[in-house]
């Protein structure tokens, strides 16, 4: 087997040094009967050619986004990732390194983490960022739990604009801890409802901008109301690229800003791995989940970086840790940092602007289709539209014509009573022809 260097002669010689007659002697502690004598009933080893063929055949049963006119967002976005990014993250020294527990020989990973944290803090207009979480949804759940720790309160209020999967992920985690989740009804814009829900027993109000319907919201009123009640404002997001064009939660006084970073540096990958961004006000840093890199010096006074504040973490604090999380999203985080370095402020703003312009073109094209009403008034690159027929049927019909129209709200949340709402987005990847093809197909489907 090509991945196993030992030869039978090696094995025999090594058993001799150990003083064992057979390999089974080394498994002597396994209860009798539990040590398998036969192979499990699965195919035997195959060479690279056969395995490649098998995986390729599976891949070819799918329709890749790039082979369609693609307008699907809803928490994951199709953007261009420069070739440089994938080359660098495949370097052995990044790909096959472990968590930087020995900082003297892990400065590459650590400095990149420090740069990532600095970039995230700048992008989100926050004081401190951690070294990343699994994805946006788990970051949002961690934010809810952190808010409960900080405020010592138990009620978490979710705006009806938060991605339903984020709400469900947080609900699963929070209810296990005995926290109460109040999820407001799905709404394209519910600023007033959120403000009304705030009371002195609320730990956090969680809002999303741009929200799941694409609506961009000025969060300052909600932030003030939360502040007045001693609750934290958590601003979450699914499209981090938006902050090249719109103000992030940090600009509105959010205590925690967290969400999905996939848009920068990372492919769609059918949902994972992605990279969760998580930033907080400095005063909450010791309640923050996840690992974090910090600056220090070595014995010669040279600048270096280490993982720090680790006494919050599970390997030291065990059941009193701020989270059970043990990893970050290393390579995805690195990809994010590389792509953000390539963009810089100039490229980021330009890319964000391009996305917005594509979305304007899409919104205008769809608005011209009879039976379509654009619901989202202020948007970045995603909008919700009401369709004269159930949205799921439209998505299915258009897929047959090579147009991935978006996601039906009924798929994200069947209980929302929004069967006629379709969520659709445009990015720099969409051409004018794509948009024309979409409008045409939609017109036919609604005719």
């Amino acid at each position: 087997m090509r991945y196993l260097p030992l030869t039978d002669a090696d094995r025999k010689q090594m058993l001799g040094v150990i003083g064992a007659k057979s390999i089974d002697e080394l498994f002597a502690d396994v209860p009798k009967g539990a040590l398998l004598k036969d192979l499990v009933d699965l195919p035997k080893a195959q060479g690279e050619i056969e395995v490649h063929r098998h995986l390729q055949a599976l891949a070819e049963k799918n329709t890749p986004a790039g082979r369609t006119a693609f307008f699907l967002g809803g928490g994951a976005y199709r953007h261009h990732v420069p070739a440089t990014v994938d080359h660098i993250i495949q370097r052995s020294e990044f790909l096959t390194a472990y968590t930087p527990y020995q900082p003297e020989i892990a400065q590459g990973t650590l400095q990149a983490l420090y740069e990532f944290q600095s970039q995230v803090a700048a992008l989100l207009n926050m004081e401190v960022s951690n070294a990343s979480m699994y994805d946006g949804s788990t970051a949002c759940a961690e934010a809810a739990m952190m808010a409960a720790r900080v405020t010592k309160r138990k009620k978490i209020v979710f705006s009806g604009g938060v991605h339903p999967h984020y709400v469900e992920t947080a609900r699963t985690a929070c209810e296990a801890l005995g926290l109460e989740i109040v999820a407001l009804p799905a709404a394209v814009d519910d600023e007033a409802a959120v403000t009304n829900e705030l009371s002195a027993d609320v730990a956090a109000v969680i809002v999303q901008s741009p929200n799941v319907f694409g609506t961009v919201t000025d969060l300052s009123k909600i932030g003030e109301a939360a502040n007045a009640q001693g609750a934290l404002m958590v601003a979450t997001f699914t499209e981090c690229l938006a902050f090249g064009l719109i103000e992030p939660g940090g600009a509105y006084g959010a205590d925690i800003v967290c969400g999905e970073g996939q848009s920068v540096g990372n492919a769609l990958n059918f949902g994972g791995p992605y990279v969760g961004l998580f930033a907080v006000k400095e005063k909450y840093v010791r309640q923050m989940p996840g690992r974090v890199a910090g600056e220090t010096v070595d014995a010669d006074g040279q600048r270096g970086f280490v993982l720090t504040l680790s006494t919050r973490e599970q390997h030291i604090r065990r059941e009193k840790a701020t989270s059970n999380i043990c990893t970050n999203s290393g390579l995805c985080q690195l990809a994010w940092t590389i792509h953000m370095t390539l963009l810089g402020e100039k490229g980021l703003r330009q890319l964000a602007q391009l996305n917005h312009e594509k979305a304007i073109a899409l919104a205008d094209a769809l608005a011209d289709v009879r039976g379509v009403e654009v619901l989202t008034k202020r948007f970045f690159n995603e909008i919700a539209v009401r369709t004269a027929k159930p949205a799921q049927g439209i998505v299915d019909a258009l897929a047959q014509k090579g147009v991935i129209a978006g996601v039906a709200m009924s798929r994200l949340d069947p209980s929302a009573g929004m069967d006629d709402v379709l969520i659709t987005c445009a990015t720099e990847m969409n051409t004018d022809d794509d948009i024309a093809a979409y409008a045409k197909a939609l017109k036919e489907a609604l005719a």
């Binding site: 010791r286 680790s310 006494t311 030291i316 604090r317």
Partner: protein, 124 residues
């Protein structure tokens, strides 16, 4: 009033009704350089043995338990002012953690005296 000690390496010294509490020199040495400590707010009450404070070095964190029951009347401003070094430099003097209004002074008598604590540490 002399110091008394717990098996969890806290010390306590009674002065009238008020008990000053800290961690022992042995504990401070085992912990290494303190990088952070979290003290309870004034007015908070504890039962003997409750988690009361946390003290951390770069690689470990230890809970500090209330050696006796009582209400916090003062937290050491040196520590809340982030002068962590004082815990290493003078753990049983300027590096005290809190002052408690003792609920039951009798609890102190049951703790180890200096000789008993020294024997206890030797056995670890």
């Amino acid at each position: 009033m002399t110091m008394r000690y717990t098996k969890d390496h806290e010390w306590v010294r009674l002065d009238g009704d008020v008990a000053t509490v800290g961690i022992t020199a042995y504990a401070a040495e085992q912990l290494g350089d303190v990088v952070y400590a979290e003290l309870p707010a004034v007015g908070k009450s504890f039962n003997q043995g409750d988690d009361m404070a946390v003290v951390e070095s770069a690689k470990t964190a230890s809970d500090v338990y209330a050696p006796i029951s009582g209400e916090v009347v003062e937290a050491n401003a040196e520590i809340t002012g982030e002068n962590w070094q004082i815990i290493n430099e003078a753990p049983q003097a300027g590096g005290w953690f809190v002052k408690l209004k003792a609920a039951d002074k009798g609890q102190i008598d049951a703790l180890m005296d200096e000789a008993a604590y020294a024997d206890y540490v030797k056995g670890l």
